[in-house]
Amino acid sequence: MYKILHKEILSEVNKLMVIAAPEVARKTRAGQFVIVRVDERGERIPLTVADYDQEAGTITLIFQEVGKTTMHMGTLEPGDELATFTGPLGHPTEIKNYGTVVCVGGGVGIAPLYPITRALKEAGNTVISIIGARTRELLFWEDKMRSVSDELIVCTDDGSYGRKALVTEPLKELLEQRDGEIARAWVIGPAIMMKFCAATTEPFKVPTIVSLNTIMIDGTGMCGGCRVQLTDGAKFVCVDGPEFDAHQVDWNLLLARQRFYLEEEKQAVEQWQHRCQLEVD
């Protein structure tokens, strides 16, 4: 069992948790993920780490309550325990001094982007970051992102904070203004956002890395449920990724595969909400 040491409510749907997992923390690097299971009947879900502290022996996770498992997890408090916490999984981000890089984070994707941005900055890169969310309430870690970026652009879809724009807009402007200067881009967020960011950087031939979050069970290459179609063949997100060349990803198939269990997810959420309602009554 893995104890929750600390919890922060970042917004109504975004929660931060610090988990005691000294063995995992010892080995975790930016870009890797863990598999979490809330209780004995729980589903195994992948979450990319938002931060890690080897000395404290902790891993920080940030998750958005979108399904039954994340909703359930959101009700846990410090002192509660997770049934499963496996990691670190996947390859770490390839960190080196590329020159000038752009880091784009959307919504809850800002969380895994942060340790990557920090590592890139520490490696000597000039880092320009763009973070965005649907609305002000869903934005978090602006300060942390600013502290590891040379320049930070903040936007919201509805204009409630920062610039009223999708992240693709400042990204495109940046690419136009500094054509040839930007060596590489990282993009983490909802699949649809990553798809459009990939389309934005492609004409500028800027190598773009995305971190994919697909359906998976074991996280070790056993089930193949996470497979993604790249131009040079299918890969497993869990063991070959989670980071891939954005310009190679078959985004439409990826989006379709993410929706495979939509019906069941809806059913599970309804049942969960019903159960919560009964407990309130």
């Binding site: 589903e43 195994r44 999984l89 074991d218 056993m222 449920g225 198939l253 495979f260 599970a268």
Partner: protein, 481 residues
């Protein structure tokens, strides 16, 4: 009871084990074979001729004392039968269910020459189940040696190796990447063939008796490398029993559509995650109305039979499940009993049929599969007749789910930074067949990670041989490197 003559013993027919009726069981996940009662077991035990040179023992990879346990059983000394069994086999309730006895011990039984062999497997299961319930013969630990062994993987090979090493007095820690020990016994083999309570019962009992530590959620290669286990973590030896967990997919168009699953994924959702109990359990599992399972090994049979059950549980009355196999019935690699059970339950077999393309609809969901008819040519390197496509025989199958059960290869994660550990071009570990020694000092390996996908009992045999060699090494009797 008066002693029977051999002539009288030969008159007793082989006892049949009660099973759930095919039409009933295809709608539940309960165990198919219900096991012998004491009466049936003793009646069957009377058939054994107690050969002076028992050939059955030669056929058993772990050399179970077959005549001894059967004799004790028929004399009414069930505790004695358990003790005789556990001399060699630490996990009889599991082996009694999943060993292919018909090609190992029973095929060698002298009775098999003229009639039907003694039902050794069913008797083994009876004894194993009795022990699980009564715990009459707890495994005993020899004087502690103070030596520490890391066993990586808690499937059949690792479990057997760990239990033998524990009995010999070594401190054993098992590392398992999933949240439950048992490997393929829990994620692969379905509840109706091997109830998970049996697996957990055997493992918990053995681990408790021998003080085996179980480190779950530990992906070796990532959490610790093999070198870190040997050095930083201070283990004197490492046994790799990580199996062959990596699925292979066909290289055909449409293989990544929604609704094309590896048998591993499908079975893991059903078995390990208990997806058939969704939404009581959180992990969903879908089943098509028309399922095609590609392949005809035991894993394919398990996938087909799970599909049938899910269709029945979800009232998909018109559901159909097909086994699509490119060779003929003669070449089917699954156990005869599994094929028979699958047929009884209503699985449809499409032999000499090979998929060439999977069709998807506008949501990228599977909506059909193009196949081609095959014919058998000359034998290939495997000795089986090579299937050859018949030109122009393509046809479309109306399917909405495809399960790919075409064999697996070792998961490479465990080999991260494992310098000096030689592997074959198929990704399997190079290890001595007799001792399990790998090319890297203080590392042994056995089971599917060495052989590629094979059987539970052959993995157990490898685990056992490696344990004996590791013991010799830890006692300083040998130093092979």
């Amino acid at each position: 009871m008066t002693e029977l003559t051999n002539r009288e013993r030969l008159q007793i027919p082989r006892q049949t084990m009660p099973t759930q009726d095919a039409l009933v069981r295809r709608a539940n996940f309960d165990e198919v074979a219900l096991g012998f009662t004491l009466e049936l077991a003793q009646q069957e035990a009377e058939r054994c001729l107690q050969c002076a040179k028992p050939l059955c023992v030669e056929g058993c990879p772990v050399e179970v004392l077959i005549p001894e346990f059967i004799l004790a059983l028929r004399e009414g000394d069930i505790d004695g039968a358990v003790r005789a069994m556990k001399e060699k086999n630490n996990l009889p309730a599991i082996c009694g269910r999943v060993c292919p006895q018909e090609t190992q011990c029973e095929i060698k039984c002298v009775l098999a020459k003229k009639g039907e062999p003694v039902a050794i497997g069913r008797l083994e299961r009876f004894v194993g189940d009795y022990e699980l319930e009564h715990h009459v013969c707890p495994l005993e630990r020899a004087t502690p040696t103070g030596k520490r062994v890391a066993v990586v993987g808690s499937g059949p090979a690792g479990l057997t190796c760990a239990v033998d090493l524990g009995r010999l007095g070594h401190d054993v820690t098992m590392f398992e990447s999933l949240h439950s020990p048992g490997g393929v016994l829990v994620y692969g083999i379905p509840e109706f063939r091997l109830p998970k309570s049996v697996v957990h019962g055997e493992i918990d009992y053995a681990a408790e008796c021998l003080g085996i530590e179980m480190h779950l959620d530990a992906v070796i290669g990532n959490l610790y490398t093999i070198d870190e286990l040997l050095d930083g973590q201070g283990f004197d030896a490492v046994f790799l029993g990580t199996g062959a967990g990596l699925p292979s997919f066909l290289r055909i168009t449409g293989i990544n559509y929604n609704g094309v699953l590896s048998a591993n994924e499908f079975l893991t959702r059903v078995n390990l995650m208990k997806g058939y109990l969704f939404p009581e359990y959180d992990t969903p599992v879908k089943v098509g109305n028309r399922v095609a399972v590609i392949g005809a090994g035991n894993v394919a049979m398990d996938s087909a039979r799970c599909s049938l059950r899910l269709q029945a549980l979800r009232s998909q009355e018109s559901g159909e499940v097909h086994i699509v196999y490119r060779r003929s019935p003669v070449e089917v690699p699954a156990r005869a009993e599994e094929v028979h059970h699958a047929e009884e339950e209503g699985v449809i077999f499409d032999f000499l049929t090979n998929p060439v393309e999977i069709y998807g609809d506008e949501h990228s969901n599977v909506c059909g599969m193009r196949c081609i008819r095959m014919e058998l040519g000359e034998p290939d390197e495997s000795g089986r007749r090579r299937p050859i496509p018949i030109k122009g025989s393509e046809f479309d199958m109306d399917v909405d789910m495809v399960i790919v059960a075409l064999g697996t290869s070792p998961n490479p994660l465990v080999f991260n930074e494992a310098g000096g550990l030689e592997r074959t071009k198929w990704g399997t570990v190079v290890a001595d067949q007799e001792t399990g020694r790998a090319t890297k000092p203080r590392v042994w390996a056995g089971g599917d990670v060495v052989t590629g996908a094979a059987t539970v009992i052959s993995a157990m045999g490898a685990g056992k041989r490696a344990a004996a060699d590791i013991d010799r090494f830890l006692r300083g009797e040998i130093n092979p490197w």
